[in-house]
């Protein structure tokens, strides 16, 4: 008799648990950033032609044997990228080499973007069809990958780099030396 009494309440308890699970899912803001599973793996093989005249393109070999560097996925059409440009220049001034991968862009637009917001890039590759972005496991712009001197991805930063992100990136860059 006692056991049956408890069993009688079981559906209600299960229902309450289910409601709690659903409610927490509804309340939590939907900010699902898709993290790249390439972190810890070597940079995929690619060769991108130069995006703007007077600046070389970008390929995998640029990341091997030249020390750790930052690969920045950006677009001249992307507003957060413009907001991030100043921080990238700070990183560059602190000694972090920055390489660019421009997504779905046009040379004249990138030139105008660099003229307006500054140019931290050593090289910029033209990824007009986002194939390198897909190969890197990146799902948006801007995104940055820290790559060590052996060409291994050690860190992914999703979204614009802000002033308070700089110490962390610098620390990771020094650790990758």
């Amino acid at each position: 008799m006692k056991v049956r009494h408890i069993l009688l309440w079981l559906p209600l308890v299960l229902f309450a648990v289910l409601m709690i699970v659903v409610a927490t899912g509804v309340i939590r803001p939907n900010t699902h950033a898709v993290r790249s599973h390439m972190t810890g793996k070597p940079v995929p093989a690619f060769t991108l032609s130069p995006m703007v005249p007077g600046k070389p393109g970008l390929s995998t070999t640029d990341f091997i044997g030249h020390g750790p560097r930052l690969l920045n996925v950006f677009g001249s059409w992307c507003v957060p990228c413009a907001a991030e440009a100043g921080e990238l220049q700070k990183l560059k001034a602190l000694g972090v080499p920055v390489e660019g991968v421009a997504i779905r862009d046009k040379p004249q637009d990138v030139q105008a973007f660099l003229a307006r917001y500054g140019d931290p890039y050593d090289r910029i590759g033209d990824d007009s069809r986002a194939r390198v972005q897909l190969a890197m496991g990146s799902s948006g712009v801007p995104e940055s990958f820290l790559i060590d001197g052996k060409g291994r991805i050690v860190l992914q930063h999703i979204g614009a780099i802000r002033a308070d992100d700089i110490p962390g990136i610098i620390a990771a860059w020094k650790a990758a030396q």
Binding site: H32, V34, R35, S36, H37, M38, R104, K106, S128, R129, A130, R131, Q133, L134, A135, M136, G137, S139, G140
Partner: protein, 140 residues
């Protein structure tokens, strides 16, 4: 008569403008983002896969349903790889390697997804057992 000719001229001109607008050479868009593969069997394979891949920017839509630029690039990549003879399963695995299981709407069976696959089966068996027990008791 002249009025009809005028209307015809306007229509032809408007059509011409529309053509030049869509053929803007500076608008870089993947060839296969919005174009089907010439081979119908390959297109069917690509289509089935695209329905099961998540658009990473819009999330909650498949790349077949989404108009996002990245979804277009992913569709083009899927079609190119299928056209090159790659199996849909290999293309899916390539994307999972980069984005994790989240990218596919057909979750693979592993220890984390096991409850998802097994729960219906377990519930069905439990329900069947419960029903059988109740019916047997009522008969008595």
């Amino acid at each position: 008569m002249t009025r009809w000719r005028l209307i015809l001229a306007v229509v032809v001109l408007a059509g011409g403008f529309a053509m030049t607008a869509s053929a803007d050479p500076t608008a870089q868009q993947d060839r296969y983002a919005y174009t089907q593969l010439p081979d119908a069997r390959q297109e069917a394979k690509a289509q089935a896969l695209m329905q099961e891949l998540r658009c990473l920017v819009c999330q909650g839509q498949s790349i077949a349903d989404s108009d996002a630029d990245l979804a277009g690039d992913m569709r083009a990549m899927v079609r190119e790889r299928i056209a090159a003879g790659e199996s849909p399963d290999r293309v899916r695995r390539w994307l999972i390697e980069r984005y994790g299981d989240y990218v596919t709407y057909d979750p693979p069976f592993n220890w984390r997804t096991a409850p998802l696959w097994l729960a219906p089966l377990v519930l069905l068996i439990a329900g069947g057992w419960l029903a059988a027990r109740t019916i047997r008791r009522r008969r008595r």
